[in-house]
Symmetry: C2
Subunit: 87 residues, 2 copies
DNA sequence: TCTAAATGTGTATTATAGTAAACAATTTTG
DNA sequence: CAAAATTGTTTACTATAATACACATTTAGA
């Protein structure tokens, strides 16, 4: 099966999700930055789909409780035998 | 519900998963690095659970077809109303 | 409206991820 | 065991993510 999702789309979606959740919590970019010990500029860049470090992504993920979901996705991939089907 | 997974654990799991899948494809770190236009050092660091950029993570994810899975996890989080339960 | 908060941009600087090359240590294979 | 391949580590350098500050623009509230 073809994977139609691009790297750029994932980055954009991550940024959108951050913005959406931040606003749902009625936090400003400044509020979130302070809570995560990051600069507002880093939040701004992330929400607009730019590149970031894994630590930044995971800090944000942790704050909005996405970490368990991410970890589960990884564990599911781990058990998948994706070279060839056995039959 | 408490989120018991730490940022460090997610990074470690990402690295382990990369190593596991790379070996399943019988690729060396060098092979993977060349395929993704990254240095072997970057692969080495990633597999040992160090920090990286989102682009690096997503290049690796794309190569092993994790992108769709990641994107779906994000879309699931998007629709979740996680402030208060409605009742 | 007009004021204030929040967001988007810009510049300069710092911190660090990424690269390239070499070499040691380890693992695999003949 | 010996040779080869792979992996782990170091050093010097480059590229860029992150910071701090300022300021313009946009969005909400009084």
């Amino acid at each position: 099966m073809i994977n139609a999702v691009s790297i750029k789309e994932v980055k954009t979606k991550l940024g959108e999700l951050c913005k959406q959740k931040r606003q749902a919590y009625e936090m400003s970019q400044e509020d979130l930055a302070k809570a995560l010990d990051l600069s507002r500029f880093t939040i701004q860049k992330f929400e607009s789909g730019k590149n970031a470090t894994l630590d930044t992504v995971l800090k944000i993920a942790h704050h909005f409780d996405w970490l368990e979901s991410f970890y589960q996705a990884l564990k599911n991939l781990e058990s998948t035998n994706d070279i060839d089907s056995l039959y």
